[in-house]
Each structure stands twice: as structure tokens, then as C-alpha cells.
Subunit: 345 residues, 4 copies
């Protein structure tokens, strides 16, 4: 059994890790930390876990964490980078679900996150853990930076086009929509039900923190800098991300091979499902599951490839992908603990 520690477990990614790990046959959560809630049983905060965990939140403690086989960070940005040098020195293996180690360029990081990076050494060593791209590096990584939710949906949707150099990489557009759980579990007025319910809006349209992460991933895939416009939107629902992607095919005849290109690219990927051409993936078709479902579209006389990509922001966009990474790091079957179908309706 893998002994798991979770740092910062009171948010939505924390409870989602607990939900998934509750039925994982090869992992057990031995500690979960929260400064503010130390002493409170996790099942008191999250009644869905009643009967599944006796565990209580505890103060973060380096020795306890270092004694774990794997530590998940489910903390706001800035926390993991401060604890990482000591934890790495102690030999711990970490999957960081925060944004601290996702960007290679630390000036860009500092610019978007409003603080200097305090662990440049590990920022350089961390593996950006999108398994569909870097599975092998994840296997031996000591520190995995778990991708963001939007970046997961957008990258998986664009990858085959960019890897195969089929589209104009300077004209990518990602129009993405997320449920409200993506904003976390903090008492912000703008995220009240009274504000979010029965309404829809764009946000971060002039620039969002996931933009540089997306640009970095897509540029790696394309082998050159890409130009991408990314606009997130807030949907009056709890879970789910849909990203509609637009790219211009360099050679319109390539449309004929796109579907098989996508199918081949993801044939062996247990968590990426290429649906029939012209399908409309629904976010509920992945609710609670670690899948990304993707479908391609073309409009008459157009050379624009349209890709619709859906994930559950808390699963493939956070906790599920983190467990997938854990499975890879520990040589387990990649789908272990992640087999249940999505909940529909």
C-alpha cells in the first residue's frame, strides 16, 4: 500500500482526492493537513466521506510528510514552492496540484502569480505531468507538477494538430467554459450561488493564469512558439469544463485524415476518448471520471478545425490526473482506482 499524505485538504481538490483514494486498492491516506481546520475529522467537513475515513486534519509537519510514500499538494499557489526544497531533500515524492511548478519560465511565473519563485531548482526539475505527453518522465519523477484544469482540456484537444504541424500555430483560439468548483472553496462574493446561478459570463478575457501554461504546452507540442487566444467562461454548474478549440488547417485536404489521426494518437490512452466525427461531448459524460472526451467538427467550405474537449475539472483537471500520475510513478496499472464510469445523469 502506498502511504499518501495530502497537504491542504480542505478545498475541492482535497475532498476529491479523498473521494478517489477511498476506493483505490493500493493507496491509503495516512495524513491530511490543514492549518485552519487541524483537529477536525475530514468526515465532519465532508459528509460524503462519513464511514470512509477516520482521519482528522492535522498541522502540516515535515517529518510526517516525509514519511509518506507520496505527498499531494492541494494548496493555493506559493505554498508548495516554499516547502519543496526541504521535502525533496528528505526524499519525498510529490504530485503538486497547485500552479507552483508548472511553468518553466520563472519570470513569466512571477509575473502571473505576483511573487518571486522560491524554488527555482525544483521548478527546473519538476516534470509537467500530462501523462499523455510525458508518461515516461513521470515514472521516475520525484516531483510532478499536475497540470491545470483548462490546460488539460485545451492541450489534449490541440495536441494531434500541433504535433503533426497541420494548422497555423499563430492563430489558435480556445474558448473554454468551467463550472464553479474551478474557483475553489473560498468565500468570494462573486462565486455565491446568488451571483453565479442562472447566469453566464466570460472572465479573465484579457488574460488568465492558465494562458502561459497552455502556451508553454502547445509550444512544446508544436516545436515552436504558438499564438493562442484563451477565454474562460463561468457556467452555472458545479463541475465540468468544455473547451471549444479553433485552428486553421494549412491544407484543407487534411480534413479527411483528421479523425483517424486523433484516433491513432489516443488509441492507447485509457483516459482520452475520441468520439465519432461530429459528436458533441457533454461535460456530464465525464462527471466524476478521469476521462477527456474529444470530438471534431467542420463547417461547410471552411478550413477551420473545430475541436470540442470535455473533462471534469476536479478529476482529469485535478485530483484524478494526480492519482493517474501516482499510479505511473509507482508502477501500478494507470487506471487503478479510476475505473468507475462517469455519473450521468
Amino acid at each position: 500500500m502506498i502511504k499518501v499524505g495530502i497537504v491542504g485538504g480542505t478545498g475541492y481538490t482535497g475532498v476529491e482526492l479523498l473521494r478517489i483514494l477511498a476506493v483505490h486498492p493500493e493507496a491509503t491516506v495516512s495524513c491530511i493537513t490543514s492549518r485552519s481546520e487541524a483537529g477536525m475529522p475530514v468526515a465532519d467537513m465532508y459528509p460524503n466521506l462519513r464511514g470512509h475515513y477516520d482521519l482528522a486534519f492535522s498541522e502540516p509537519d515535515l517529518d510526517t510528510l516525509a514519511a509518506c510514500d507520496l505527498v499531494f499538494f492541494a494548496t493555493p499557489h506559493g505554498v508548495a514552492m516554499r516547502m519543496m526544497p526541504e521535502l525533496m531533500a528528505a526524499g519525498a515524492r510529490v504530485v503538486d496540484l497547485s500552479a507552483d511548478f508548472r511553468l518553466r519560465d520563472l519570470d513569466v511565473w512571477a509575473n502571473w502569480y505576483g511573487m518571486a519563485h522560491e524554488s527555482p531548482e525544483w521548478a527546473a526539475k519538476a516534470v509537467y505531468g500530462l501523462p499523455e505527453v510525458v508518461r515516461e518522465e513521470v515514472r521516475d519523477a520525484q516531483l510532478v507538477a499536475n497540470p491545470g484544469c483548462y490546460p488539460t482540456a485545451v492541450q489534449l484537444g490541440f495536441l494531434p494538430l500541433l504535433e503533426n504541424n497541420l494548422v497555423d500555430p499563430s492563430r489558435l483560439i480556445a474558448d473554454a467554459k468551467s463550472g464553479a468548483s474551478g474557483a475553489g472553496r473560498q468565500g468570494k462574493i462573486g462565486m455565491l450561488h446568488g451571483e453565479v446561478g442562472e447566469s453566464f459570463k466570460a472572465y479573465g478575457a484579457s488574460g488568465h493564469r492558465h494562458l502561459p501554461e497552455i502556451r508553454q504546452g502547445l509550444s512544446n507540442a508544436a516545436g515552436r512558439d504558438v499564438g493562442i487566444t484563451f477565454v474562460p467562461h463561468l457556467v452555472p454548474m458545479v463541475r465540468g469544463i468544455e473547451a471549444t478549440l479553433y485552428a486553421e488547417l494549412t491544407n484543407p485536404e487534411d480534413f479527411n485524415q483528421l479523425q483517424s489521426l486523433y484516433e491513432n494518437r489516443f488509441r492507447d490512452e485509457p483516459f482520452v476518448d475520441v468520439m465519432p466525427f461530429g459528436s458533441h461531448p457533454e461535460t456530464r459524460s465525464v462527471r466524476g471520471a478521469n476521462h477527456c472526451r474529444i470530438a471534431l467538427h467542420r463547417q461547410e467550405n471552411s478550413n477551420v478545425v473545430i475541436v470540442s474537449s470535455v473533462i471534469d475539472n476536479l478529476v482529469k483537471g485535478a485530483a484524478g490526473q494526480a492519482v493517474q500520475n501516482m499510479n505511473i510513478m509507482f508502477g501500478l496499472k494507470e487506471t487503478l482506482g479510476l475505473e468507475a464510469p462517469a455519473m450521468l445523469p
Copy 2:
């Protein structure tokens, strides 16, 4: 492996059975019928099942069903009762999720369902499968009538009070609220998102089909006829039932022992969770799970016991309870395939 057949699999209880059984280690679905959709792969109708089932809907066929170890009926009322005599004669075991075999008094049944009952023999033999009441009878039953969603939430909430004769049985009130999936998957205007969204209402307040079923179950528990007022309401959400129950304590001093009474009654029940006195169970705390969570309340100077009881209408209120019954019927661990925590948020 238990070979499972499902009759009438295109509705919400059908897809929920498939979702649950997809990860059940001792059961496999060998056929699923639908006259209207025969030939269509189930994963085409329900994309959450892509990768989990190769199965397609087929025409209902007695021999095929009789060859199953267990047949679930997830049909509108009136269907199961017509097929049951032949199926029973063929030796099949059945869990019927429809209302056909829930009522003992067939005049009452005929009155509420608007047709004569066509299988009185099996209506008399069927076991009303609320495991928390009749576990032993379920074990050997050939035909189990799976309880309705509201009746499950209401009965579990009232049972300890009535079994112990603590309240006035002539003055029971059950104010229940359900998500829209309870109405099934038919194209009714009244169930459109445009009608249900952002609105709340009572329905069936002058009489609902679940009223006689509730009355029958509570009368059995009380050992005498009870008087119950039951009003269902429609909540703008997909899943979940909350029932707030009101009863008058005969002896107000009994308030002191109520919490322990409930805890003792359900101590060994894997799927009934008595929360601390004064808790407020949320439907999301059981979403996707087979649990019923219950909490007790008292208002100052009052001898009214208030019970709040929540279930997922599609799980403990339908498909989950059906699988629980299957587990009992086949001598399996009762929780098999039903261990995953609810999905919160």
C-alpha cells in the same frame, strides 16, 4: 459471475444500473432490452458508458431473460406484471424496479395505476425489498419489488419511531423534495429545463402514487394503520431526495433517547447513516451513493420530532437498492459494488 439481464434499459434507472454494475466484481450484464432502441449500442445513448460496455439494446426475449441469473425490470408500470408469470415459471429471479409488485392491496394498486393487476399471484408472493426491514425474506425471494424513491426515504426516516410506538401514528407528515430525474426520461413539456429550472413547486399534493406505498410500509412498521400526509415537490436539480418528516411524540420525555434509538436501530445497516442530532443532511452527501443519511431535530418547547432524510433517488431510491437486493439474493457482501463515496461537490 452473476449473469444479469435488464428489461427496459433506456431510462435513468437503466443507465444507473449499468453505471453501478460496470464496476461490480461479481456481476456482468449480458443483455439489456428496449423495443424502441433495439440495435443501438448502450454507449451511443449513454456516452458515460463508452469503453465500459460493448452491449447493444435488444428486443426483449423470454428465453434470453430466463437464461440470466437475475433480471432487473426498469420499465414503466404495467410491463413487469405482464411478463412475470412466464418469467417466474421459467425459474428466473427478478428485482422489479417498477411499481407493479409493491402494493399488497391490488384494489388500491388498480385505483392508483389505472389498470387491473394482471399478476395477482406474484403480487402476493413478491417481497417488498427494503433490506433494512426484510433482509431475510429478500435472501430467498424469487421476486423482489424494489421500493420507490420517496417511500425509501420516508420509511427509513420514520421506522424507529413507529416500530417503537413513540409517536401518534395518525398524524404523520412527510414533506418530500426530489430532483427532476425522478420523473424519468420522457419528453414531457413539464419536465423541460425551461420549465423546471430556477423554479420550485409542490406537485401531486392532492395524492401521489407513492402515498399508498408509504402508508403500507409505515402501517407494517407500526403494526396498525397510520395516517400520513405526503406532499412531493420538484427541485431544480437532477438527483436527490430530501424528506422532512414530522411526528408528534406521545411522551415528550422520549426526546432524550431518540438519537440513541436511531443509532441503535441502524448500527449494523451499511447504508443508513444516522448523523449527529441537529445535523442537516444534504442530498449531495449521497449523490451517486447508496446511502440514506438521517438527522433528528427538535424545536424549543415542542413535542414534534423532525426528521430529515436524504437519498439519491436513482441509487438508494432505485438502482443502488436493486443491486443491494441482488447482493443479498446471491449471498454476496451486501455492499459489493456500492462502496464508492458520494460525489461532493
Copy 3:
């Protein structure tokens, strides 16, 4: 034109007052205060008001308020009672939408609101402004305590039964459900969309601040102390309250006259609509409107009267009723500015 001031305008009742008054032909808002947002144009906080108001929030100032013809308080409890003595002395007329002046018994008030009442003189003089009960007193009142949202729905639903002494007043039950806007516009974690969305629960089941207000109103109507159990619930929607009321008819034969009794009681009330017997009022049928719609039900062989009563918690349950009171106080047509139909769907 009535010169209106609003104290504490940043919450949902504040913006709702502004929305309604924007089209009121005889009133104009001349000042709206907020300590925290002083200087901010109201249309910047509430973009639905762009083009309707040039006004900005200002620091509360006694002289400015006293110069208004009418002042609405849309503040948390405790604020109005502190400002009231000075304001009353200055001759202002006030409709207080907070709870400060709703209860006659100040010990009860202190007990539920956790502070001593600081304006007992005006608590005694205030008129509890449910126009359907005390229209005449409102007309000449200097201070009107605007009823709470739940108390409005519950009282209007029960009134005819109690005024005519038809039911057992010791056995009243009010099971009420509200949208999330009822909790106000504060950054509470429990009211996040991620917490409220797709879930349903009771809250305050052991005692809610509206309970003593309801008890006071119903006891006045009955001419004796009533026994009432009141349980509120949170619905995943923004606006609307539905209350399902249960009472035992003393004489079951009275059922025959109930419908006409209700119709007669409210015949001349512009904002109370008695629907046909057996109807199911939907909250959306009053969304944005100042109406209360009521319907009666009876279940077979039962002497329980079931009443379903719906209002928009922000309109008839707050700002609309306040404007209705203003209209009465200033001798205007009672429906002025409140004529538009509800928004359905």
C-alpha cells in the same frame, strides 16, 4: 415625487429596491448609502442598472436621510435600531426591511438576535407592515417594520384558517423552501455555488429567526398563542420561496367552504392570488413580481388542510412589499410601480 433614501444598498434587497423604484412613477431615489462602497456608482456594482441611475453610494448621513420623504433600511439587523431614535426625532418616515422592529417581545428579539434591543420605544410604535392585515395602520405609520420573507409566505397562507378559527392552532406545520438570494450577498462558504448547486437540504431545523416572527403573526391572527413547527430549506435556485403548510381542520366538513373562504378573504387584495383548488403554484409564477399565489389541497380521507404559498423572497418577501408599504403610506395606488407580470420562464 417621493424623495427616497436607502440605507445599506449593496445587498440583494438594496439592488431590488433600485430595480423596482427605477420605474416607479412617483418616487425617485435621492441617496443610497454604503460605508464600504462610498463613492462607487451603483451601476458599477449592479450592471443591470446601467442607464437607469447616475447615483453613487454615499456615507450614511443623518441630515441627508432626514431630508428624504421616505427612508428604506436594507441593512443587517442591529443597524436600523441604532439610527432610528434620531431619525424618528428628525421626523423621517421609514420602512425597515431588516428584522429590528418586527418583534413585539424584545426579550425574544434579544434572544434570537444575540444583542439587546436599543430602541424599545420605536419597537413598540413600529407597525408590522403586512398590508393584508394592517393596511390602515401602515397608512399613518412613521415606522413600518417590513415583514421577513418566510413570515410573509407563511402568514398569508395560514391567515384565513386562523382568523376563522377553523384549525387546531397548536398543530401548525410550515415546511418552507427558499432560493439562495435569501441568505444575502456575503462571502459565506456555505452559500457558494459549489456548495448550493445541485443539492438540497434543510437548515435551521432546530430553530430559525423567522420562527418567532411567524408565531407572533399567526398568534395575532388566531387571537391566541399558536404552536407552529417551521423548517426552512435551501433550494438550488436564486429567487423564490414556496411554503407548504399543514393544519388540522377541527371540523372536516369545513373543507367544502375553504376555497371560497380564501377567495373572499383575498378578493380585494391586489397581491394575493388564490388559485383554483388543487393547483400547484410555482415560484417562477411570481418571479420579480409582488404577488403571493396560494392553493389549497386535501388528500383522501384526511382532515389535514394543505396550503402551498409562493412568493419572490426579494419582492413580496422584501423590496416589493416595502414599496407596497410606501405606496400606502403616501396615499398612492397600492400597486404603483408593481404592475409588471412575473418573468416566466
Copy 4:
């Protein structure tokens, strides 16, 4: 008073026309037709109208309609075109809210709507009634084709860019999102709350009927054929459309003048609100109101103009715009009956 007739009043645009006209000071609804519901009082179907209308649905009758000053068609496509020749011959004036007269090219129309057009004469004469473009033609029109919901949001957002030739007209993208009321009030399984709730998806991504209408309008504005990709999405809410528009600025320096260009373009438009640069219009800020709110965005180092445009699909996207057109046609103040602020929250 303008005597108004409504053909096909049982859908969402029908009830919305009734809601708006209920408070219009210069119009009165004298007949509303429905073959299926003839004889039913409109207030029985739509309880929000109780107390506002005594009217019942009636069989459509040419003479009765011809006797109206104005007839609104709120029918499925194919109905208006069949009745139009006779009605026009009888001298009636019509605002058709259906799609029958929106497209100039009747081959395109036939292709998208799956039937031949039966009134080519009036298709040629009809004025496409987007008042912000063709106000003068509307004034004297006998037949106004009321624009579709998506086309209204998309055209208003793109107009200034295309009219001024500032962007590459071959690379327009419109990613649009709508609440469920846009699909009308028919019993389609796909529009059930159980299907739409808590989920998000694209639909019609390979081609939607509003695409040719959008293309026609934008091409007119640009003075040349445009290339536009349009993808609609379904949001789990009842009302509202948000369209996020992407266009490439030919000369990036033009970014500096865009905001003032938009403000000038719409300065005198009562129903188009250009918000400050970088704002995020919410659909709720126009809920129930006839406004379109628009905001502009730019991402760092990009020459892509991002426009977010919101309307209420049933108001500015249907019934409100129809009443605006009526006001223009009859020489009334354009905002008459349309002055109330949107309902927020």
C-alpha cells in the same frame, strides 16, 4: 391603442410577448391563436399572467388577424410564410419572429429549413428588423422579419469592426452560449432538465440554422462576403445568450480607438450598452430586458479583438426586439414598454 394579434402563442416567445405587452401603454392584445389550445385562457397556461389577461387562445382566423393593427408570428418555421400572402393582401402589418423571412437567398433558406419557400415575394420585400442597422426601413415596413437570438448577439458585437473594415473578414469566429429556453417549449428528451441540468455542451457545431443568417448580416455590414465560424452551446440555465467573438485586427494600432469606435457607433442606441474596456458582461445583467451589453478585450501581444456580447434570448433575441420594431413601425418612442431594468440577481 395598437390592436395586437399573436399567432402561435403557446411557446416561450408567445408568453414573453404577453409579459411585455401587459405593461405597454400603447398596445393591447386582442387575439392570440393556438390550434392545439384553442379555448384555454392564456393565464391557465401561464400563471404569471393571472390578473393581467382575460384572453383565451383561439383558432387562427384570417379576418380576425387582418383586423389587428399588428400581428406577431411566434410560430415554428413554415407557418408564417404560408399565411403571409393573404395577410399582406389584407393589408395587415406583421412582425414575424420565426425564421421564415430572415434570409434573402431562398435556396439557402430551403437548404437549411428543409422545405421550399412558399412566399418568395414577401421574402424579397420583408425588412430584416435589426433596428440598429435598418431603423428607417422598419418604420415603413409592412413585414418585418425579426432577427434570431444568436444573430442579434453576434451581429451587434461585430458590427463596428466590419462596418469600418478593421478586421480580416474571412477569419471571424463566434462562440455562442444559450440558455435552454432558446430551444422552445416542446417535449424533446434532449431538453429535459435531467439532460440539460448540471451539464454543458456544444451543439450544431458542424452547422446551425443561424449560421447563414449571421453570415448574411455580417456580409452586409462588411460590404463583402465574410467567413465566419459559429458554434452554439447549451448552458444549464433558462434565459440568456453570451457570444464571445474573435476577429483579427488588420492594423494592431487600431486597438487604441476601438473602445471609442464602439461607444460612438452605439451612442444613440437605447438598447446597446458598450461597457468599459475589459468588462465581462453577465447574461443576468440583461435578464428580462431588451438590452445588449458589449465589452472589448485584448490579450497581451495579440492582434485578436475579443468581444463579449450578451442578450436575453427571449427579449432582445425575440419578443423585446419585436416590440421595439412595433414601436418603430407605429412611430412610438422606441423604448416604450421596454424601460424596466433587468432582473439581477
